[in-house]
C-alpha cells in the first residue's frame, strides 16, 4: 500500500523553479488500480517516478508497505525497484540487442537468480502474455503490441506487488491498445497487483477502479470506474 503525505517536487529551471508536485496526498491500497489523467506537464510522470523510487520528493513522505522511501539510501531504493516494483513504458524500452527472452531475464539479474531458473521463469512469463513462440525474437522483429507484451512480461517476471505504467498504450493503435489493456486487467486480477497507470486516453482510464486528475501539481481523485471491485 502506498501512502503519500504532502509530497512536493521542485525542479530548477533556468533561474526559476518549477513546482511539479505541490503537496500530493493519496492512499493507494494493495490491489488497487489507479489511473492518473491530466494535461501534459502537470506532474503525472513525476508522481509516477516518485512512486517507483526512481526519484525523491523535495518534501513529504512516500510510504510503500509502511516503509518510507524518502529515507532510504540509493542502494536500498535500487533493491526496492528490483524486488517490488515493475515498470511499463510508453516506448517499451526493451534492450534492442537482446531477444524477448533475454529482455525478460534481464529483470531477474539483480535478484541473482541462477541462469537455469532465469530462463524458465522468463519462458513462463512470455507464455503468460501470449509470446511463448517469440522468445528468440529481437525487439526489432516484433510489432509494437508484441514489444509491449514483452515489457509486461519483463515487469511481472519478478512477481512484484506494484506495477507502474506510464502511457502503456500511447504508441499503439486502437485494436492493439484494447488487447494490451485487456491483458493488463487480466494480469492485475490474477496477480493481485497494485496498478497505477498514467494515461491521456480516457478509454484506458475508465478501466481502472479509480481515476485521479493531476492538475498544477495537485492530485484529485475524481471518479470511480464502472466495474469497480
Amino acid at each position: 500500500m502506498y501512502r503519500l503525505t504532502d509530497v512536493t517536487k521542485d525542479y530548477p529551471k533556468g533561474r526559476g523553479v518549477v513546482h511539479a508536485l505541490q503537496g500530493v496526498n493519496a492512499v493507494i491500497g494493495d490491489g488497487d488500480w489507479l489511473a492518473i489523467q491530466g494535461p501534459t506537464g502537470h506532474g503525472k510522470s513525476t508522481l509516477l517516478q516518485i512512486l517507483g523510487a526512481l526519484d525523491r520528493p523535495t518534501s513529504g513522505t512516500v510510504e510503500l508497505n509502511g516503509q518510507d522511501l524518502t529515507g532510504l539510501r540509493e542502494s536500498q531504493l535500487t533493491k526496492v525497484r528490483a524486488t517490488s516494483i515493475g515498470f511499463i513504458f510508453q516506448t517499451f524500452n526493451l534492450i534492442p540487442t537482446l531477444s524477448a527472452q533475454e529482455n525478460v531475464e534481464a529483470a531477474l539479474v539483480p535478484l541473482d537468480v541462477d541462469a537455469g531458473q532465469r530462463r524458465e521463469r522468463a519462458r513462463q512469463a512470455l507464455a503468460e502474455v501470449g509470446l511463448g513462440d517469440r522468445a528468440r525474437h529481437l525487439p526489432s522483429e516484433l510489432s509494437g503490441g508484441q514489444q509491449q507484451r514483452v515489457a509486461i512480461a519483463r515487469a511481472l517476471v519478478k512477481k512484484p506487488g506494484v506495477l507502474l505504467a506510464d502511457e502503456p498504450t500511447g504508441n499503439l493503435d486502437e485494436g492493439t491498445r484494447d488487447e494490451i489493456m485487456t491483458l493488463l486487467e487480466q494480469l492485475w486480477r490474477e496477480h493481485g497487483l497494485t496498478l497505477v497507470t498514467v494515461t491521456h486516453d480516457s478509454s484506458v482510464a475508465r478501466r481502472a477502479q479509480r481515476i485521479a486528475i493531476m492538475r498544477n501539481g495537485l492530485l484529485t481523485v475524481r471518479d470511480s470506474a464502472p466495474h469497480g471491485t
Binding site: 524500452n93 529483470a107 519483463r154
Partner: protein, 471 residues
C-alpha cells in the same frame, strides 16, 4: 547474461568498435615499433662501440703526441746526400712507422694491469707499413712521403715514385682476450701464440687477404721482412680492423720502438667499475688520454646517431601522441555510445540494476575493444619492426678524430680506440616480450580509461532523468 549482452552490444556497434580498436592498435603498434627500433639502435650502438673497442675492452689508453713530435716519416735513401743522387738511380724502401700516435712505455701496461678494479690490460702498437719505390729523375732530390695508408704520390724530387701502404698492428699474444683481435673470428689457421712472440708470423684480415690473394702459408712483407701468414681473421660486423697483425715484440723491433706501445686496452673488473678505472688510470698516467665507452658513445656521429635521436626523441613522442590520441578517441566514442544508451541504462536502473553492474557492463565492452586493439597492435608492431629491419638502410657511425696534436703529418692523431673510424651496421628492430607486455598493458589501460569515463557518465545519470530523455 553479462557475456551475451556484451557481445551483442559490440556487434551492434561493430563499426565504432572496430574504429576504436584500430586507433588503439595503431598507437600500440607504434609503441612496439618505436621500442623495437630503439632497442635495435641501442644494440647497434653496442655493436659499434664493441667494434671500435674490441670485445671485453672497457677503457683504452692512448698518448697524445708531444708538440713537434711526429714529423713526417723519413726514408733513408742511400747513395749520397739528398739531391745528389744520379738521375735514373732506383730506390725502394719499406718502413714501419707509428702513424702519428704518441707512445707509451710498455711498463705502463703493467702499471695499469696492477690497478685496483682492473681485470686485465694489453698493449698494442698501431702502425703503418709504407713502401716507396721508383727512380730518381734529372734534378734529383729525395722523394718524400707521408704516412698514411693506401696513398701513393710523387716525392718532391719529381722522379717516378710508387707508394703503397697498409696498416699493421702489433698485438700481445699473451693477452689475446683483449685488444684489436679479440672481437674477430679466425676463419683459417690460428691466432698468434705466445710461443710465436718473436717469430715473423702474421695474421691477416680476411678482406685484405682476399684483396691481396693471401692465405695461410702465404707470406707478407712488413718493413722489408717476410712474415708467414698463419691465420686469417674476420673482423666482427662493422669493425674497422688493421690489415695485418704481427707479434708486438716484432712490431716494436721493426718500427724501432723498443719497449713502447701506443694503445693500451683495459678491461674493468665489472661494468660498474669503469668510471673508477678511468680515474685510476688518469692518476697513474697523468698525460695519457683515457677513453671509456661512454666517452666514445658521446662522440659517435653519423646516421646511427641520427637514428638514435629519431628513435629516442621523435619516435617516442610520436608514439605517445598517437597513443594519447587513441585513448582520447576511445574515451570520446565510448562516452558518446553511453550518451546514446541513456534510456537503456535508465531502464536497467528502473529494473533494479545497480550502478556497478552497469559500469561493469560498459567497462567489459571497452576492455574487449582494448584487448582486440592490443592484439592487432602487437601484429602491427611485429610487421612494422620487420619492415624496419628489411627496409632500413645501413647505418654508419663515426667517432670524431681530434686535431689537437701538432707536428706535421704525424701530428694529426686520432684516439686509438676510435681512430676516426667509420663503421657501417645493419639496424635490427627486435620485438621483445617486454614490449609486447607493455603493449597489452597499454591497450587494457586504454580500454579501462575509456570504460571508466563511460561508466562514470552512466553512474551520474538519475534514472528518472535518463528515462525522460528523448532519443
Amino acid at each position: 547474461m553479462f557475456i551475451t549482452y556484451l557481445l551483442r552490444e559490440l556487434r551492434r556497434r561493430m563499426r565504432q568498435a572496430i574504429f576504436i580498436a584500430a586507433g588503439l592498435a595503431l598507437g600500440v603498434g607504434l609503441v612496439i615499433t618505436v621500442t623495437a627500433a630503439s632497442d635495435g639502435v641501442s644494440a647497434t650502438q653496442g655493436t659499434v662501440l664493441r667494434s671500435l673497442y674490441g670485445v671485453g675492452t672497457d677503457v683504452t689508453v692512448t698518448q697524445s703526441p708531444t708538440a713537434g713530435s711526429g714529423g713526417g716519416t723519413r726514408f733513408n735513401f742511400g747513395g749520397g746526400p739528398p739531391g745528389q743522387q744520379n738521375a735514373g738511380t732506383s730506390f725502394s724502401r719499406d718502413i714501419l712507422a707509428g702513424g702519428g700516435m704518441g707512445t707509451i712505455k710498455s711498463s705502463s701496461v703493467t702499471t695499469v694491469s696492477g690497478l685496483k678494479d682492473v681485470s686485465g690490460a694489453a698493449g698494442a702498437l698501431v702502425l703503418n707499413d709504407v713502401k716507396l719505390s721508383g727512380t730518381v729523375s734529372a734534378g734529383g732530390g729525395q722523394p718524400g712521403a707521408q704516412g698514411g695508408s693506401g696513398s701513393g704520390s710523387a716525392g718532391s724530387g719529381g722522379g717516378s715514385v710508387n707508394s703503397s701502404s697498409f696498416t699493421v698492428t702489433g698485438v700481445d699474444p699473451a693477452h689475446d682476450a683483449l685488444g684489436p683481435l679479440s672481437s674477430g673470428t679466425v676463419t683459417s689457421g690460428h691466432n698468434i701464440t705466445t710461443a710465436e712472440s718473436d717469430s715473423n708470423v702474421a695474421v691477416v684480415d680476411s678482406n685484405y687477404a682476399k684483396a691481396q690473394n693471401l692465405k695461410v702459408g702465404s707470406s707478407v712483407t712488413v718493413a722489408g721482412k717476410t712474415f708467414g701468414v698463419i691465420g686469417i681473421v674476420q673482423a666482427a660486423q662493422g669493425e674497422s680492423s688493421a690489415n695485418v697483425y704481427i707479434p708486438l715484440a716484432r712490431a716494436q723491433a721493426l718500427a724501432n720502438m723498443p719497449g713502447e706501445v701506443n694503445t693500451i686496452y683495459v678491461s674493468a673488473a665489472s661494468a660498474a667499475d669503469i668510471s673508477a678505472v678511468s680515474s685510476e688510470i688518469s692518476r697513474a698516467l697523468p698525460s695519457a688520454t683515457v677513453t671509456t665507452s661512454s666517452n666514445l658513445a658521446s662522440e659517435v656521429t653519423g646516421s646511427l646517431s641520427s637514428a638514435s635521436t629519431l628513435a629516442n626523441s621523435l619516435g617516442k613522442w610520436l608514439a605517445v601522441a598517437v597513443l594519447a590520441a587513441a585513448f582520447g578517441l576511445a574515451s570520446i566514442l565510448t562516452m558518446s555510445a553511453v550518451s546514446r544508451r541513456v534510456r537503456e541504462f535508465g531502464t536497467l536502473k528502473a529494473m533494479g540494476w545497480r550502478s556497478r553492474r552497469i559500469i561493469r557492463q560498459i567497462m567489459g565492452e571497452a576492455l574487449v575493444i582494448g584487448i582486440v586493439g592490443g592484439a592487432a597492435g602487437v601484429g602491427i608492431g611485429y610487421g612494422a619492426a620487420a619492415l624496419v629491419e628489411a627496409l632500413a638502410p645501413p647505418l654508419t657511425a663515426s667517432t670524431a678524430s681530434t686535431a689537437s696534436g701538432s707536428g706535421g703529418p704525424g701530428g694529426r692523431f686520432a684516439r686509438a680506440a676510435s681512430s676516426a673510424h667509420t663503421v657501417s651496421v645493419h639496424l635490427t628492430a627486435p620485438v621483445t616480450l617486454g614490449a609486447v607486455a607493455l603493449a597489452v598493458v597499454l591497450a587494457i589501460a586504454g580500454g579501462l580509461i575509456a570504460g571508466s569515463l563511460g561508466g562514470w557518465r552512466a553512474v551520474r545519470l538519475r534514472p528518472a532523468a535518463a528515462l525522460a530523455r528523448i532519443e
